[in-house]
């Protein structure tokens, strides 16, 4: 009976592997000038911001990113399945499709397969040295002399003897860097081949750069990760690498492994009779929650992993609720070294969205941003400098709208000053206005460094955020009909591309240092 169950289990596992790899393959498309041209077109829209126009990994956003975007000219790829440590077309396709968790490379699995194959062949064409894979040759028993794609022997069962062997091998060959407890806490400081600091992966966190199905993981263990300190473990070829695959996979769960993939999800904004007027309103319960995956642009292990989003509308207004975890309520930004928590929703004005980060020159995005210190300014009062520095002497300017006897002397706080001398406020910038009544800003952007507030009279986004129990709940509301240029139209029955961002002030997040999702789709119900 036991045998029967075991073989049934193995059979099922085999079936599972077969199904996953079938889904992933979708028949490779061979290179052709037409496909390369398509790849180039997609590349220029989706990839240049990070990887650069020439593919040198030096795009506009590259300085904000860690790990760094790949240089396609040097073509030193990390995820390879061959003995010569060169990626196959399938390796590149898989990386594009799944992205690279643990970096800011998101999944592009939502692009049609043809476009992804186009990208594969286009980026290959950028390499200064062609990527060559030798003809297939099996290695000897010690794992030496193999050529071509690593083809492991059939997987042995992961029974208790195999587990013991895996633990032994882990201790001998992996613990030195990944740590005895597999938390990536080996004692050595490491750098990659470009000289950037790097850390061995915390294997309990489930962040696998490449596919984590057993076969892919097997190949990544045997081939190592070129360019990084992770060496080739050809010694493990045969059964040992299978034992290690099974052991390493047992340290994390499917849920963990899936959560780090930057995927596209679908949000439904259903029509309700009455809109919620508070983040904790019971009406939100009728809206289906969707957990969206977040990635920090500068990767760190202490990060918000998910933001849970709900949306509803009443035919007149749309309401969106964002919920995410944050251990600290950072709601002042008075000292230069202090940063606030914040959240933002980004909408594409076009149905075919531009690059997911801040739009493009030719395609603007509309952004609603909520700031925790703005919320605190309203509840109960504007947080002026005295909140952090009581009795601080502050130089002041005469307020010409007041009489001579009413002039402020020292200790004139912002609100008592003449706006003319508080330049942003004086110039009418809503972001600097200490008297604003909403914690939300309605903004527009056309690429990095172009963010600006929409005109004061067009500010119609309302928001409310509450903090408690280590998490934020922030809701936004705005009428469905757009007002003015750069305002997103939210017609019932349409689908609007939407993306989200979260800032953690105590982690130093501000501006481009944040955690983001890629474009999601928001379906506004009729």
């Amino acid at each position: 009976m036991k045998w029967f169950l075991l073989s049934l289990g193995l059979g099922l596992a085999g079936l599972l592997i077969a199904t996953t790899s079938n889904c992933a393959d979708l028949k490779p498309l061979p290179s052709s000038p037409k496909l390369i041209a398509l790849g180039k077109q997609v590349y220029s829209q989706q990839c240049t911001a990070c990887h650069g126009v020439g593919g040198r990994g030096d795009g506009e956003a590259a300085y904000l990113l860690y790990p760094k975007p790949r240089d396609f000219v040097a073509a030193k790829y990390r995820l390879v399945s061959t003995w010569e440590r060169v990626p196959t077309d399938q390796d590149l396709f898989d990386t594009i499709s799944r992205g690279m968790p643990g970096s800011s490379m998101p999944s592009w699995g939502h692009l049609p397969a043809e476009q992804r194959w186009g990208l594969v062949h286009y980026i290959k064409s950028l390499a200064e040295k062609p990527l060559e894979i030798k003809s297939q040759k099996a290695p000897n028993a010690e794992g030496s002399g193999g050529q071509g794609v690593i083809q492991p022997p059939p997987a042995p069962p992961f029974d208790s003897a195999a587990r013991t062997r895996a633990l032994e091998m882990y201790k001998e060959a992996c613990a030195s860097c990944h740590g005895a407890t597999a938390r990536g806490d080996g004692a050595e400081k490491q750098v990659d081949e470009e000289g950037y600091p790097t850390r061995p992966r915390d294997l309990t966190a489930g962040i696998f750069k490449g596919n984590h199905d057993p076969l892919s993981l097997y190949r990544h263990i045997v081939a190592g990760i070129p360019g990084s300190p992770m060496p080739m473990s050809d010694w493990a070829w045969g059964a040992d690498a299978w034992h290690l695959v099974n052991y390493v996979r047992s340290l994390s769960s499917d849920t963990q492994r899936e959560r780090v993939e930057m995927k596209k999800f679908s949000l439904q904004a259903m029509r309700v009779k009455t809109l919620p007027d508070h983040p904790e309103s019971g009406i939100w319960r009728s809206a289906p929650p969707v957990n969206l995956h977040l990635m920090p642009l500068w990767w760190r292990s202490d990060r918000p992993e998910e933001v849970t989003v709900r949306a509803v509308h009443d035919g007149k207004e749309l309401a969106i609720l964002m919920v995410w975890q944050d251990d600290t309520n950072d709601h002042t930004a008075l000292r230069p070294q202090d940063f606030r928590d914040a959240a933002a929703v980004q909408f594409s004005l076009a149905a075919n969205p531009p690059f997911f980060a801040m739009g493009e020159k030719a395609a603007a995005v509309n952004i609603w941003m909520w700031k925790s210190e703005r919320q605190a300014d309203l509840e109960p009062a504007y947080q002026d400098l005295e909140k952090t520095y009581p009795n601080l002497g502050i130089d002041s300017y005469p307020n010409i709208s007041r009489s001579a006897v009413e002039q402020p002397f020292r200790n004139a706080l912002t609100l008592q000053s003449d706006p003319t001398f508080v330049t942003g406020w004086g110039a009418g910038n809503i972001v600097s206005d200490p008297q604003r009544k909403s914690p939300a800003e309605d903004l527009a952007a056309r690429g990095f460094g172009t963010l600006q507030a929409r005109p004061r009279i067009d500010q119609r986004v309302d928001a409310r955020g509450v903090y408690g129990h280590g998490s934020y709940e922030v809701m936004f509301r705005r009428p469905l009909t757009p007002n003015g240029q750069g305002s997103v139209a939210l017609q019932p029955g349409t689908t609007v591309p939407v993306a989200f961002a979260v800032w953690n002030g105590s982690a130093g997040d501000r501006d481009g240092k944040k955690s983001v999702t890629i474009w999601q789709e928001l379906k506004i119900g009729k």
Binding site: M169, A187, E188, Q190, E193, P229, P231, W235
Partner: protein, 241 residues
């Protein structure tokens, strides 16, 4: 009939090939047999020798000890520089066939030797006397870069390099470990010993340029006249920039 002609020409080509091969061998033998000269001497440091850098060991202390002395600049007696690579530029010749395969050991968490000269196409034995995990990570450009794990139970790995190149070797498990693999396609090369001395035998007579490379002091060249059967003695000075 045509087939015979084609067959015939193939045989001719083959024969001609053999002839060339034979002739080539003859020339090589003739060169080696003709009495060459020797270039010997020392590589020395100009200026004060810096104190050897000590690196504190933070892991695997039972095998690596508490402290490692860096070998990026080893200055011995009379300011002789160890681990400088001296070669004669522009000379071609069959790479030397060593009696024993060149070997580099990882012992006490240090690569021994720090500089290893290996002929192209000859397997280099990579040994692990420590019995703990090391990884052999090369920063090569002409040879395909490699990074192979060598757990403690894997006492020996062999790796062959096909292009002449000076390759830096690191171990990511022990960041202080470094070595240089000098892959050569000719026999006119030597690495200096603890007193900075080197010796290159069987150099064809004539004027030659001697090149010295050191990992931290860089490269210098010097011309030297070699006479058959004689030893040309030179001293090459390196200085910190």
């Amino acid at each position: 009939m045509r087939r015979i002609i084609i067959g015939g020409s193939a045989i001719t080509v083959l024969l001609f090939g053999f002839y060339l091969h034979y002739r080539g061998n003859l020339t090589a033998t003739a060169l080696a047999a003709s009495p060459g000269g020797t270039i010997s001497g020392r590589v020395v440091l100009v200026g004060d020798a810096p104190a050897a850098k000590k690196i504190k060991v933070t892991k695997d202390n039972e095998k690596c000890g508490a402290e490692i002395t860096a070998e990026d600049l080893v200055v011995g007696s009379d300011k002789g520089i160890q681990y400088a690579v001296v070669s004669v530029a522009g000379l071609k010749g069959a790479p030397p066939k060593p009696a024993n395969p060149p070997a580099i050991d990882q012992k006490g968490c240090v690569f021994r030797p720090h500089v290893l000269i290996a002929p192209v196409g000859v397997g280099v034995d990579i040994l692990n006397s420590d019995g703990i995990l090391h990884n052999f990570h090369t920063g090569s450009a002409k040879n395909s870069p490699m990074n192979r794990a060598q757990p403690g139970f894997r006492k020996k790995m062999t790796e062959t390099f096909t292009q002449p190149e000076i390759i830096k070797v690191n171990c990511d498990a022990h960041s202080w470990m470094s070595a240089w693999l000098v892959v050569t396609d000719h026999p006119y090369i030597d690495a200096t010993d603890g007193s900075g001395a080197f010796k290159i035998n069987d150099v064809p007579p004539g004027n030659h340029t001697v090149e010295v490379w050191h990992e931290t002091l860089g490269k210098v060249t010097k011309t030297v006249a070699v006479k058959a059967g004689e030893e040309a003695k030179i001293t090459i000075e390196l200085s910190k920039k």
